[in-house]
């Protein structure tokens, strides 16, 4: 890595920090501008109790002061504060709890999607227009276009109700099989198609023809030359995709009752659990920013011709 690259990375990190700060600030003020509050319910609490709670959580202070206090706590102590809804629990603990499940689910799903996607894509490209290629294309078209709630429901009906081989709730290890499959199918199909088209493109390049003419073995051509170069679009897609599936797909978590971060995020917004909204937003923002950064840098590693400037 040369100095230029290092400077580029440094700049990108600064930009990433700025992005996260903007996200924090905008979320903080927009969230507080929305009507309703964390202590409102179907049955109203007394004004004295409302005031006591606001004082306890510092919500009675001027908004700007709350904002600076919050920023300080997050930056210097990595403290997201207590949840206002799940009384007695720290936002950090809730996020870690949720992330543990979501990350496990997301990472496995992403790995499956990546490996299967690349293999199927390469096979399809090498067997272009043959039966196997067509089968792969039909299936992947179906998977890409089928929303996860339909896929999830179908799998649930088949494996949990009809065949009764897998549980319908994600509270056990076996219960994570179906959500993992549901989560991985769509990106897997997308990666297959990306790999296939990119590989076809690469296979038509002159250097491949030159290699063939030189008598390089087909295996070496595929693995040594073609595959590596056809993975660039996959890398662009994979970084952000990983961030999304790791941070939890709400729909899949809902269908399979998986205790992940996606549900916690949505519930925090409807419940006006301010610290929880901020905490999950920050975690999501950081993950997406970091994943984008990583995939940009990986570009450079895979294809030295790409100018990061």
């Amino acid at each position: 890595m040369n100095t230029k690259t290092l400077i580029y990375i440094f700049k990108r990190i600064l930009l990433a920090i700025l992005t996260v700060w903007v996200v924090i600030t905008v979320t903080f003020f927009v969230m507080r501008a929305v009507p309703g509050g964390p202590f409102m319910g179907e049955k109203a609490i007394s004004e004295a109790a409302q005031a006591a709670l606001e004082a306890k959580y510092g919500l009675d202070k001027p908004l700007m002061e709350q904002y600076t206090t919050y920023l300080k706590d997050v930056v210097f102590h990595l403290d997201f504060g207590p949840s206002l809804k799940q009384r007695g629990r720290e936002v950090m603990d809730i996020i870690i709890d949720g992330m543990r499940t979501s990350a496990k689910l997301g990472l496995i799903a992403a790995a499956i999607a990546l490996v299967t996607g690349i293999v199927l894509g390469a096979v399809a490209a090498l067997r272009r227009n043959r039966l196997i290629d067509k089968i792969i294309m039909v299936i992947t078209t179906a998977f890409v276009s089928m929303p996860s709630f339909i896929m999830g429901s179908l799998l649930l009906i088949l494996f949990a109700i009809k065949l009764m081989v897998l549980p319908a709730n994600g509270s056990t290890a076996a219960g994570l099989v179906l959500p993992i499959i549901t989560l991985s199918l769509s990106p897997m199909a997308y990666i297959t198609r990306l790999t296939r088209s990119s590989m076809l493109d690469v296979l038509g390049q002159e250097y491949i023809r030159a290699a063939r003419a030189k008598g390089v073995s087909p295996i070496r051509i595929i693995f040594g030359h073609a595959l590596k170069n056809s993975l660039i679009p996959v890398i662009t897609y994979f970084g952000p995709m990983l961030a999304y599936i790791v941070t939890g797909s709400l729909v899949v978590e809902q269908i399979f009752a998986v205790p992940g971060i996606g549900r916690a995020f949505v519930n925090s917004i409807t419940g006006r659990d301010y610290p929880m909204i901020m905490g999950t937003t920050i975690v999501l923002a950081v993950l997406i920013v970091v994943m984008n950064l990583v995939s940009d840098i990986l570009y450079k590693v895979v294809d030295p011709r790409i100018n990061l400037e």
């Binding site: 929305v34 009507p35 309703g36 509050g37 202590f39 409102m40 319910g41 179907e42 049955k43 109203a44 609490i45 007394s46 004004e47 004295a48 109790a49 409302q50 005031a51 006591a52 709670l53 306890k56 809804k85 799940q86 009384r87 007695g88 629990r89 720290e90 809730i94 709890d97 949720g98 067509k134 089968i135 039909v138 299936i139 179906a142 429901s153 179908l154 649930l156 009906i157 088949l158 949990a160 109700i161 009809k162 009764m164 549980p167 319908a168 709730n169 994600g170 509270s171 809902q254 269908i255 399979f256 009752a257 205790p259 549900r263 916690a264 519930n267 409807t270 419940g271 006006r272």
Partner: protein, 591 residues
Amino acid sequence: MKKLLAFLLAAVMLLGLVSCGSASKSNFTGSSLAVCLASEPDTIDPALNSAVDGATLLCHFFSGLAKWSQNAKGDLEIVPDCAVSLPEGVVNADGTVTYTYTLKDGLKWSDGQPLTAGDFAFAWNRAASASTGADYGYMFEVVDGYNEEADNTLNVKATDDKTLVVTLANTVAYWNELLAFPTYFPVRADVVANESWATEAATYVCNGPYTISAWDHNSLITATKNENYHDAASITMPEIKFYLSDDANNMLTNFKNGDWQLIDDVPTNEIASLKSQYKNEFVVAGQIGTYYVCWNVNEDILPASCTLTGAEAEAARAEIREAVGLLYDRNYICEAIAQGGQVPASSFVAMGMTNPDGTQFYKTAGGNKDFDGYYDVSTKAVESNYAKAVEVLKKYYTFDEATQKFTDFPSLTYLYNTSEGHKAIGEYLQSAMAAVGINVQLENQEWATFLNTRKDGNFSIARNGWVADYNDPICFLDMWTTSSGNNDVQYGKGAHKDLAMYNLDLTSLGYSINVKGGTWAETYDVLISTIKSCTDNTVRYQLMHIAEDMLMSTGCIVPLYFYTDLYMIDSNVKGFYSNPLGYKYFMYTHK
């Protein structure tokens, strides 16, 4: 390629067909019960909880002075739990009532430490304190010394480790029921000093039939029989798994494949088929609650040409609101839209509330011989109600005979919180009013925003609902006093504050109160405080009927139906019961 597509399509359709069949299976062994009530509770601290699912959990983990129990005949009753007995109170010279409770011998917390009367006194003061900020802090307002602005003021004392003396401001008919209410459960000072005590299995010290042996947040709470519970021998179910999910479809899937034995929610669009497919499992239980529509009392609905002002204008508006309420066919709402066995309502205090003689409060409301409540909501009355409504509205609005519609009724907005069910009802109300020319816009808001808008009175008509906290009509009536936080109608606020048009004559009941042409605060608020200090139960119920009469005469509260509690339970599970507040009891279940 085409063949392949056709094959795939056929495969998907086959899968769809297969999925239409029904399956009923049970994995219930009798040694562990799996249930799903709702998602992770916000809290299972007895003082802080205000949710029904949280209350069910608390009834399994804690034991108060009294509890709900099912007798041999299958009827529910309040029986002593930690207390040896539930004695009558002693009326003091100043009208306050003192109860003295003796605790059973050998009561222990789940960690083995002795449970004392002081733990009750501490817990009650803690729950009632303003600084705790509990939703249900007001449940202690019947106790002498209660002050919602301050801390630790209740007149409750532990005279020794086994004796608890509590003084109430006056006789309270539902006192024993309150003793079985989760907010009245004991907690120990050193346990709750840790603010996170009720969030992990390890720190959750309780005194009821079960303890938490494992808690996987947002997923599962495992309850294991508490051997330190004073009546542990009677508990028949060794373990209960409370699965935490709020997705009705997922619940149903787990019920169908036999993994879960009770689910507390079902998908609305499945209700019709579940009713026929699962005759023994699908249960429609009563729940003390009313689904209603509320008008903003300050919304001007008179036509521009109307010259009425002040009290006369409000009297006209009340008549109009009541007439509009007659346009709705409540049977249609219950049967075609809600579909869950709901009961058409014609009064606000819900079905399930009883008079002192055991009769239903709603059946004696309104004083009509031919029907229950304030208007006839039977199917046969739909047409006459409609005609009556049109007749009343003709007094104030221009009626176009050709189109059979009113031409100058101001446009209204119906506000509801985002949900398919509420939307469907909103659309029905809209069409029912459109039939007579009343133009209604539907506006939906997300829950927290909706609560805020409704509370602030920024609406003309809004969806509303109320579920009882305890079996006494007062919890439906005291919410409408001027200063109540739940006074969504805005009684006694804004322009309504100065309208001196209400009458309250209680002289026939032995009171010297006789107000003619008083404001809401001078009449309704006075009536509610009279009810709260009334010691004669018969008179008290008469007063509560008067309060409901007054409420209904404003036309601002338009009841639609009484709620029901829908759930599904595996038919192999015996010994289960639930109470009218919706709390479910699993400790005595068996195969």
